[in-house]
């Protein structure tokens, strides 16, 4: 049973998602919802949920402000960013602040449920769009990477991201590369780590525009 907290400033969307999860009461328990930044921070601190489903764009600083405040007090809370259509820098900034993944709101309810279970299990969740953003950000090899371990993607990681960008679920990514799903998850988690720790120019620029570095 995963304890879930929903944050979205669109009441309609919030109630829709809530209804979907109430149909999956054996897997998820909704411990709270919030529709603005302050309520979200307070509610999450109070309920200490396992996973927070959080909108990127909200009045009062957006999901980024929530992640930044909550991780100070509740470092064990996992965030999954959920949004309609966003600029790359907003999404990358959310990931760099600590979100374990990003999915678009057009995602089906079963896929969303799986994504939540995946981030709760400590893995990362990349939507095709996020995979595209990441490939773009890491597109050019640096002549002299400051930290080759963090500033570049391995060929295998690129392959995995490309397949995700092409719309394949993890299971099919694994089959196409003849590796296990666990290995796919490992690659994606390692990309997430690079995304959060690398100081590549493109990433720091995006992040510093949002004042999180």
């Amino acid at each position: 049973m995963i304890r879930l907290f929903l944050v979205d400033d669109h009441a309609l969307f919030l109630s829709g998602v809530k209804a979907e999860f109430e149909d999956m009461a054996d897997r998820f328990e909704i411990v709270g919802t919030a529709s603005d930044v302050d309520d979200a921070i307070e509610g999450i601190r109070e309920t200490d949920p396992d996973v927070v489903l959080i909108d990127v764009h909200m009045p009062g600083g957006g999901g980024l402000a929530v992640i930044n405040s909550v991780t100070e007090t509740n470092p064990d809370v996992t965030f999954l960013a959920l949004s309609v259509s966003d600029a790359a820098e907003d999404v990358i900034a959310m990931i760099r602040a600590g979100a374990r993944g990003y999915v678009t709101k057009s995602i089906g309810s079963e896929e969303l449920a799986e994504a939540i279970e995946r981030v709760h299990g400590g893995d990362a969740v990349f939507s095709p769009r996020l995979a595209g953003f990441v490939l773009d950000a890491f597109a050019h090899g640096l002549p002299q990477p400051a930290d080759p371990e963090l500033d570049q993607l391995t060929p295998r990681e690129k392959e995995v991201l490309r397949l995700i960008a092409r719309g394949y679920p993890y299971k099919q990514v694994a089959r196409r590369l003849s590796i296990s799903i666990k290995t796919v998850e490992t690659h994606v988690s390692s990309v997430l780590r690079k995304l959060q720790l690398s100081n590549r120019y493109e990433l720091t620029r995006w992040a510093s525009d949002r004042r999180i570095v």
Partner: protein
């Protein structure tokens, strides 16, 4: 937000020590708060009085013992600005050293010099070095300017007198320099803030123009679509309208617009996808990495990918079509995939073979290629690629 100054309550004793605005115990802060003057003046007063037989020191300690600390809910910081304290200590230390070594012209000239120094410091709120170039410095108050000018003049007169007695050659230069420094200090921040006000005004005007443009755009696009959706009963049509509007709005917001040389590749691909979406009421998710100019080759790639999307929409039965395009290393690749029913490559229905051939033929003519990967029950993926002619692929 908590205000820095707390209005003192009208009671018998309403002098408190300031809990946050303090260097030693907050006595000066409390007095300043009570009198409604900047803390700097009070501090300067205490220091100057201290130089006169230690009067200020005695007064400070006496007030310290006689007053209570005002409790605020903010945690007190012992030293508001360590640099200020450091400068003060350096100054006092220097004075003591000079006195010990014997370079001491007497107490009166030193009091004058000290007064001059503190006049300058108060003039710029004790932080004159950084304030001088600080664009955030506010316009100096009349009191501050007046006080500073008087201090400057007094100091200069005393200095000139001392210098003429000493018949120092550089005396005049020094006096001129000090005067100039004083002028900069008095009017510098004001000039900076004047320039800043102009910039702010211009920025505000630009912002208003942008807002007007955005309102106009939203009215023509989003509001119209919303109105249209309210008049539509067909849920599929609503989804299509919503997706079309989303795509258009995204293109407008995040700048996937046309470049100086006409449309770009990524935008053309998005457009092809949105046509398929509109014609078949099926979401087409497009992800692009990199972009390039639209020439004959890339136009062929877009057309072939568009055909593949139409195929997927018509035959796959999938709920969504995924398109991924990558422009890198001098070539362009597009994958059009669905998670639909797929087909057996061995038994392709004739109408689909024709389309396959048209995709293949088109790509071959463009100097690239096409590959179709399909298995029954596991979806279909069409991969088209072509080398880029002149312009290298570029990142967003």
């Amino acid at each position: 937000m908590q205000m820095n100054t707390v209005a003192a309550p009208r009671r018998e004793i309403d002098l408190f020590r300031h809990a946050t605005d303090r260097v030693v115990a907050g006595v000066a802060g409390g007095i300043a708060n009570r009198l409604g003057v900047p803390t700097g003046y009070v501090r300067a007063g205490f220091v100057v009085l201290s130089l006169l037989w230690g009067l200020g020191l005695v007064a400070y300690v006496a007030l310290w013992m006689a007053t209570f600390e005002k409790v605020e809910d903010r945690p007190p910081r012992l030293i508001d600005n360590p640099r200020q304290l450091g400068l003060g200590m350096m100054f006092v230390g220097g004075l003591l050293l000079f006195r010990t070594v014997g370079w001491w012209p007497g107490d009166l000239p030193m009091v004058i010099v000290t007064t001059l120094a503190f006049g300058l410091a108060v003039l710029s709120d004790f932080d004159w070095l950084s304030r001088l170039f600080d664009p955030h410095a506010a316009r100096p108050s009349k009191l501050r300017v007046g006080f500073g000018v008087v201090m400057l003049l007094a100091g200069l007169v005393a200095l000139a007198g001392a210098l003429s007695q000493l018949r120092t050659l550089g005396g005049v230069t020094l006096a001129v320099l000090i005067t100039l420094a004083g002028v900069v200090m008095v009017f510098g921040p004001w000039l900076v803030s004047l320039g800043r006000a102009l910039t702010t005004e211009r920025r505000e005007r630009i912002r208003q123009e942008e807002r007007a443009e955005m309102a106009a755009h939203l009215h023509d696009s989003v509001l119209q679509t919303l109105a249209l959706m309210q008049r539509t009963d067909d849920p599929k049509r609503i989804v299509t309208l919503a997706r079309q509007q989303e795509r258009e709005l995204r293109a407008w917001l995040y700048g996937a617009d046309t470049g100086p040389n006409g449309q770009r590749f990524a935008a053309a691909l998005e457009e092809a996808a949105s046509r398929v979406e509109a014609d078949f009421d099926l979401p087409v998710e497009v992800v692009t990495v990199g972009d390039t100019a639209l020439d004959d080759t890339t136009r062929a790639v877009v057309a072939a990918a568009g055909e593949a999307m139409v195929n997927a929409a018509k035959h796959s039965g999938a709920a969504e079509v995924s398109v991924y395009a990558e422009v890198a290393d001098g070539r362009v690749d597009v994958w059009v995939a669905d998670q639909g029913k797929g087909f057996d490559s061995g038994s392709v229905p004739p109408d689909r073979r024709g389309l396959q051939d048209s995709i293949r033929g088109r790509m071959a003519r463009a100097g690239g290629g096409a590959e179709i990967d399909a298995r029954p029950g596991e979806g279909t993926e069409v991969h088209v690629w072509a080398p880029l002619a002149g312009e290298e692929g570029e990142s967003r």
